[in-house]
């Protein structure tokens, strides 16, 4: 008599389900790990692209015109619509906003001699009924142009010649203050002086994606750095570091 071995016993079913469940847990962990890696890559790319594009835009102007002065600024005094700037009570984002004003050594026939590099949060959209801003995002922006001035000398309207804007990831650390490092050597030495502007940007794990701008300073051109490192407003702080001749350094730093 033949013994028929058809079908599956309950023990086999239980064991196979158990093995499949163990394998599925392991696979799920792997899947989450791969997805997190991809998200990390995307954030890193976003930082690098924003950093590179802003650096390229500003360096073009620095190389074309040279720099005359650098100081911190208040983003509410630049050309931005104040209602678009994110400023919720109870948050300290405003303290971390950054604004640098660069005045270029443009010839007299070129009026667009001022550039602003800004990092702030802005509303990407508005509620049609309540006109409340929504979806705030971090943004880094460079704009170059000039202000129209009325008869009293007050700035009226900003005329932008160049504008570059990039969104930054939400995982942002802007706790470090911007700084300018430059050299000032006497005319008798053969070398030009150099200048470096640093706008520190870090991600949530502390990796730096600073905006670094370098340019040489001709001995014939005056340069002033307005130091506000002790300002009571955190967003208004800028540190100026000068190396070289002490007299030339002290005359080039304007401390406020």
């Amino acid at each position: 008599m033949h013994k028929y071995n058809r079908g599956v016993t309950i023990v086999e079913i239980l064991i196979s389900i158990l093995i499949i469940a163990i394998v599925m847990v392991f696979l799920y962990r792997l899947f989450i790990q791969v997805r997190n890696e991809e998200e990390g890559n995307a954030i890193q790319s976003q930082f690098v692209i924003a950093q590179s594009q802003i650096e390229q835009a500003v360096e073009e102007d620095l190389v074309d015109y040279g720099v005359k002065s650098i100081k911190a600024c208040n983003i509410y005094n630049v050309d931005i619509d104040d209602n678009s700037i994110y400023n919720e009570p109870g948050t300290n984002d405003l303290d971390n906003y950054k604004c640098l004003e660069i005045t270029y050594n443009t010839p007299s026939n070129i009026v667009d001699n001022t550039g602003y590099i800004m990092i702030y949060k802005y509303y990407t959209r508005y509620d049609n009924k309540t006109l409340q801003g929504k979806d705030p995002k971090w943004i880094v922006r460079y704009t170059k142009g000039h202000f129209d001035v009325d008869v009293s000398g007050n700035r009226t309207k900003w005329n932008s010649q160049t504008q570059v804007t990039n969104e930054l990831p939400d995982e942002l650390d802007l706790s470090e203050i911007p700084y300018v490092t430059y050299s000032r050597t006497p005319n008798t030495l053969k070398m030009n002086d150099t200048l470096k502007i640093v706008l520190p940007i870090k991600d949530s794990v502390g990796l730096h994606y600073d905006i670094n701008l370098t340019i040489d300073i001709n001995h014939d051109n005056e340069f002033t750095c307005t130091s506000t490192e002790n300002s009571s407003n955190l967003y208004y702080r800028l540190k100026c570091n000068c190396t070289g001749d002490s007299n030339l350094c002290s005359s080039s730093i304007d401390k406020k």
Binding site: E59, N192, T194
Partner: protein
């Protein structure tokens, strides 16, 4: 005699599981390779390109050309050679001449190398190691990443390039080493 046609459920489940694990592990490796490739592509940051151009301008202003600078300033630049191939290593960070260090200080230049990666990487192994040992570890990685065709023209003749090593200090005491190179 017992006939066996087809597969039992357990065999099928095990096969499917093994295939799935293998495919997922391959994909995660692929993702890792992509990430490493991207980080190598951004190894030279945009700002370093401008800084390296400024370094070249400064050295040319000081001594006419980068080659004149490395040859004329033996107190700053050390010459190493093997099998007819030479390289210069200039320790800018520890140089005593303020005429050099002060203007380059804002750029955070640590060292300047004047060499041809093609010449060095195409040496026999012992000579290559002898030449590479004078470079910092990060610089060795950078020279190898440039490859053995860097510093070599289409006609086969070799020329030296300037490699600048930057040491960026951060406020928390940490620092980052970066390299950038330029034909001079």
């Amino acid at each position: 005699m017992r006939k066996k046609n087809g597969f039992v459920l357990v065999e099928t489940a095990i096969v499917v599981s093994v295939l799935s694990i293998t495919l997922l592990m391959l994909y995660s490796s692929y993702s890792h390779i992509l990430r490493v490739t991207r980080s190598r592509n951004t190894y030279v940051h945009t700002d370093n390109i401008y800084s390296t151009y400024l370094v070249k301008k400064q050295l040319e202003k000081y001594n006419g050309s980068v080659s004149n600078f490395v040859v004329s300033n033996s107190s700053i630049c050390k010459l190493y050679s093997d099998s007819g191939i030479s390289e210069y290593v200039c320790d800018i960070a520890n140089a005593t001449s303020e005429q050099i260090t002060v203007p380059l200080a804002p750029l955070e230049v640590d060292k300047i190398y004047y060499l041809s990666p093609a010449e060095i990487l195409n040496l026999i192994e012992s000579s290559k190691e002898n030449m590479l040992m004078h470079l910092d570890a990060t610089t060795i990685d950078y020279v190898k990443s440039l490859g053995n065709t860097s510093g070599k023209s289409d006609t086969g003749s070799t020329y030296k390039i300037m490699i600048v090593k930057y040491k960026k200090q951060y406020s928390d005491g940490s620092y980052e080493i970066l390299h950038s190179s330029m034909e001079v």
